[in-house]
């Protein structure tokens, strides 16, 4: 019985995304598997990422939404997707954001995360990699939820 709430919530979220659409600038690319979705994302208005398209992969465990989803930026040259150059986003697509860790709450959902990442990118003034990018990418676990990020100046 481990996944009643999880399946119920994901079905609701998916129906909502399909009927009313995701936030402006985002497109649901893939959700054939209820536990793994891909959503493309563009930053609206003027920003250092103008004209670029990114994609986020969401993986949900059976304890979603009590537990946060695993969210990473997709690197897929065929589709032209690359993780954005941003001080809190590693080149392997991992994101250092408290909203995916200790700041997660079960009332958040895919749509609210998409808005959060859009605004995280929109507010970036300068494209810079995290200072410890190389070391992190060398040693990072494949699932970013296993990394104990220390969140700094962001409140996302």
């Amino acid at each position: 019985m481990g996944s009643r709430i999880s399946a119920k919530r994901l079905t609701k979220e998916l129906t909502e995304l399909k009927t009313n659409g995701p936030p402006t600038g985002c497109t649901l690319i893939q959700a054939d598997d209820l536990e793994c979705w891909v959503v493309s994302l563009q930053v609206l208005g003027e920003s250092v990422y103008e004209g670029e398209e990114f994609a986020l992969r969401f993986k949900f465990s059976s304890s979603y939404p009590i537990d946060s989803p695993e969210v990473t930026f997709v690197n897929c040259p065929e589709r032209g997707w690359k993780a954005p150059v941003h001080p809190h986003i590693y080149t392997n697509g991992h994101i250092c954001a408290s909203v995916l860790g200790s700041g997660w709450s079960p009332v958040l959902n895919v749509a609210s995360l998409l808005l959060t990442f859009q605004s995280m990118l929109a507010s970036c003034k300068k494209k810079e990699l995290p200072p410890d990018n190389d070391r992190y990418v060398r040693t990072a676990p494949s699932n970013p939820k296993q990394t104990r990020f220390v969140y700094h100046d962001d409140d996302v």
Partner: protein
């Protein structure tokens, strides 16, 4: 990113290099890891077993004083950041079992009356309904119109050890707490304080806003409840709750009454939330630093 090694896992860094905030995060992580092996809610066991675990004289004297006061049983809860909410919810529902079904009906009406606060707080009905359902079903089953068998202490214990039921109830109580705090922000904001070097609240001079407090310390899974959350939840539901503070000090945090009686006789402080008990209640929560269990007599 501050110091050079700040991206190393917390447990690989020198404790002295960590800020208070990081130490608190690490402590919570380690506790959660260790706790994941215990049942969410244990069976009632004799209180005297607790004496076997302590060498500290203050603790032993306080346990003895509880026993003299005829507190004899203890139900242990898993030591994760949810233990207050879980202990509260379990004890709240367990106390309804021997009462007439109208008591559960009243309790359900109270909860229903609070739902508009959740909407006001900006929680979507679609989202909170999933978390509300298990609590509502238990209250309905304890009520007068139930066609289901009436829950017993045993079946309640089983429900609370079903991770999904248990966690949904906790999330719902967290949302109620948060909604009540937000709706009464004027009363509660003066009591907010942040861990001084929590980087998220630096800009605001150390104290979080009610919105930040609710997102990070109430709604977030696994965040422990402090006095302010306990006050809000018990007040929202109008549920009389008392907590026995089994700690080192003479008085619990906040300084209610004196711990040490005459002749150095140590007594346990009971802190009451939400008014006076109208009847002699046989339930209480037991607080030990960082943890809550259920106490029986």
């Amino acid at each position: 990113m501050s110091s050079d090694n700040s991206q190393l896992p917390l447990d690989q860094r020198k404790l002295s290099d960590l800020t208070d905030y990081e130490v608190a995060s690490l402590t919570q992580e380690l506790k959660a890891e260790e706790a994941s092996k215990r049942p969410l809610v244990g069976e009632v066991e004799p209180l005297e077993r607790l004496s076997d675990e302590y060498k500290n004289e203050t603790f032993l004297a306080k346990i003895a004083s509880l026993q003299r006061d005829s507190w004899t049983g203890l139900r242990r809860l898993r030591g994760d950041g949810d233990c207050f909410y879980r202990a509260f919810a379990f004890s709240y529902l367990e106390r309804l079992i021997p009462l007439p079904p109208s008591a559960a009906q009243l309790a359900l009406a109270k909860v229903e009356s609070l739902l508009p606060l959740l909407d006001q707080a900006g929680f979507q009905k679609d989202i909170y309904d999933d978390f509300y359902e298990p609590l509502r079903d238990l209250l309905l089953a304890l009520g007068p119109d139930s066609k289901l068998p009436r829950p017993t202490a045993t079946s309640l214990h089983a429900s609370f050890n079903d991770t999904e039921t248990s966690n949904a109830i906790i999330v719902f109580l967290r949302l109620l707490t948060s909604a009540f705090l937000r709706a009464n922000a004027d009363d509660f904001t003066p009591f907010l304080f942040g861990l001084e070097d929590d980087p998220r609240f630096m800009l605001e001079g150390g104290a979080p806003t009610m919105d930040q407090f609710c997102s990070f310390h109430v709604e977030a899974v696994n965040k422990e409840a402090d006095h302010i959350q306990i006050t809000a939840l018990t007040r929202a539901l109008s549920v009389y709750t008392r907590i026995a503070y089994l700690d080192q000090s003479g008085a619990p945090p906040g300084g209610f009454g004196a711990g040490a009686g005459e002749n150095g006789d140590v007594k346990v402080d009971f802190v009451e939330f939400e008014g006076e008990s109208e009847e002699k209640l046989n339930g209480a929560l037991l607080y030990r630093p960082g943890h809550y269990d259920v106490l029986y007599r």
